[in-house]
């Protein structure tokens, strides 16, 4: 190899960071804005025909939020948690129990209670069990998820199999109606009349769009916190623990404490998303929290690319949106979903968006090969 090495094409991330900060902020704002108006656009192809698009988006956002939370546990700290649905259930049940079944606590207090209780349960579960590793941790957490569900099912105080209804919704403001687009073929027209069903901040039964907005705001907040955490000492400690626990411990990382922290963080987000879910659907029962749901959450993180927060969101979108979009095959959608999981695992094991670390490692690999190549060239 006598040719000089051509500089590697700048990756998307590199070109992106080269942009001036104000431009970056503007682009981010535009992207966020797009997602906020998405339910009103009713875009053809994307929009779902057989289910209300706003409701589908609210579900999708919910999955994305859960995936973000699980990504902290699984992607950053490398802890295989198969019982994540347990925290989700705890969040939802807290809202149900204290907002409807045994109390009339105001909604904002309910949310705070939900995250507090789920975080505490994360610490309670993590403190003894994080001593076991790898697959055993997976089983213990799986057991935890089932214990939570079965306890809800068998406890009369939690209304058993009947579940909880009349869960409070977020307080409404009902300021003005938001117009939405109606498509006639390729021609769009603004619907100001009856179609303007989305009343700004009216959390009602019929229109799921405000819930989607709420979830979107929560996702953005969690994303910011996630980014700050991952780029901090905590994030590096997690990465070190995930890659090699013994080495990290020897280098002075108190791995147990950081694993526990990851668990608590994950439980926080899990409880939060469960609480939001409960206050959207208004009624929950133990069947809403089967282990299969845990598997779906796990699939979301792994499909998206564990360790990558955007990947987690993409995975959440894939897992929640596809079955809704293809309702035509309603009965076969789980078969198709299973097939999709199989294909993705087989042909894209890194996930749709591999974490930056994996790509860095790949680039470093290429760079080393090139270096070795030039050395050989110089010797020849």
């Amino acid at each position: 190899m006598s040719t000089a090495t051509t500089p590697a094409k700048p990756t998307f991330a590199e070109r992106w960071t080269a942009l001036p900060k104000p431009v970056q902020i503007v682009v981010w704002t535009l992207i966020a804005l797009f997602f906020f108006v998405l339910p009103l656009l009713n875009l053809p192809i994307i929009s779902t025909e057989d289910a209300e698009f706003g409701a589908v988006l609210a579900t999708v956002a919910n999955y994305a939020l859960v995936a973000l939370g699980l990504n902290i546990v699984l992607g950053y700290a490398g802890l295989l948690d198969l019982g994540y649905v347990g925290f989700y259930a705890i969040g939802a049940y807290t809202v149900g129990v204290f907002g409807s079944l045994h109390g009339q606590v105001p909604w904002f207090v309910l949310i705070v209670m939900a995250v507090t209780i789920s975080t505490a349960s994360g610490l309670l579960l993590g403190a003894p069990t994080l001593r076991v590793r790898g697959d055993y941790l997976a089983i213990v957490t799986l057991g935890f998820g089932e214990i939570i569900r079965l306890t809800a099912l068998n406890t009369e105080w939690l209304n058993g199999a009947r579940g909880i209804t009349g869960i409070p919704r977020p307080p409404s403001r009902e300021l003005f109606g938001v117009p939405s687009l109606v498509w006639d073929g390729a021609v769009a027209k603004v619907d100001l009349g009856q179609g303007a069903r989305s009343i700004f901040l009216k959390f009602g039964l019929l229109d799921a769009v405000p819930y989607y907005w709420l979830a979107l705001i929560v996702i953005i907040l969690v994303l910011i916190a996630d980014r700050l955490l991952q780029n901090s000492r905590v994030g590096r400690a997690w990465e070190a623990t995930r890659e090699d626990e013994e080495a990290a411990e020897l280098n002075g990382v108190p791995t147990f404490r950081f694993k526990l922290l990851a668990f608590a963080m994950g439980a926080f987000v899990g409880g939060l998303s469960g609480a939001l879910y409960a206050s959207r659907v208004g009624a929950i029962n133990p069947d809403s929290f089967m282990i299969q749901l845990s598997m779906m959450f796990l699939a979301a993180v792994v499909i998206g690319g564990q360790g990558n927060r955007w990947g987690a969101i993409v995975g959440g979108v894939v897992v929640a949106y596809l079955p809704e979009r293809f309702r035509e095959f309603a009965d076969f959608r789980i078969v198709v979903f299973g097939l999709l999981l199989l294909l993705l695992a087989n042909f894209r094991p890194q996930g749709l968006l591999p974490p930056r670390r994996a790509r860095r490692a790949q680039r470093a690999d290429v760079a080393t090969k090139e270096l070795e190549g030039t050395e050989e060239g110089a010797r020849a």
């Binding site: 089983i139 068998n154 282990i291 796990l298 999981l341 993705l344 094991p349």
Partner: protein, 322 residues
Amino acid sequence: MNLTFTGLVVGAIYALFALGYTLVYGVLRLINFAHSEVFMWGSFGAVWAMTLLGARTGMSWPAAIGLLLVALVAAMAVSGGVALVVERIAYRRLREKNAPPLVALISAIGASFMLSEIMGLRDRIAGWLNLDTVLAPYVRQARENTAFVNPLPNVQVLEVAGFQIRSNQLIVLVAAILMMVALDQFVSRSRLGRGVRAVSQNPEAAALMGVNQKRVVQLTFFIGGLMAGAAALLYLVHIGVTRYNVGFVLGIKAFTAAVLGGIGNIRGALVGGLVLGLVENYATLLGLASSWKDVVSFLLLVVVLLFRPTGILGESLGKARA
């Protein structure tokens, strides 16, 4: 006494089922999440064989036992086949690419969803193929409980200290323990079993010594499938119905049994299964409603793992009798 015996019967079924998890884990270090569907397909294999042969209750003893043996073969054949399919579609490519275990887990979850839903939609699929009239007795009511017609008269055969032991229970217990012993002997004595142990101990060294790893892995899945099929038939004899999603909860239980005894350890699966079955049934003695028994079994698992992180007998498919 009745509790003990029921516990042992259920535990023996768990133990047989758990073998599939434990074998695959021992060799590949993977949790085979699709194993529960292998069991479920086996149970339908048995039901279909009985439908085909026109089984009915109250047949003569020799005929009944013959039919049960046919059903056993059918269940084992279907389960073994499905296990091989799972290995082929969900694992082989990933193993060749050295993918991380978590990806294999996702792949297995995908396979599991597919297998269970295909069974749940069998009436629709038969409709597509215009076979619904021909196959009617096999496909109808795909999402309902499907009953297993047990040709054996379920009579009381023994009475110990005033408690009765019924023939079905006795058959299940004896058959399960015979199967376990046969498998244990197979793995510790036969040439193929030696290969399985070699790969589980050190895959690279085994490959260097001329063990065909691909064959061993297939064999592991196949044997696990056979045992799941046997467990499926015994489950049907004990419980009487199956369903397209029957594997899920039972699979978690069996897996718990495998972990409890020490996953990767064949004798551990037996111990774990029996302990789990007993504890579950004894839970009612503590004044807990029987609906709490699943909670008790998971709590037991958590507690055991905390004090003995590798299970009661430890992890040793290769180590123990190498």
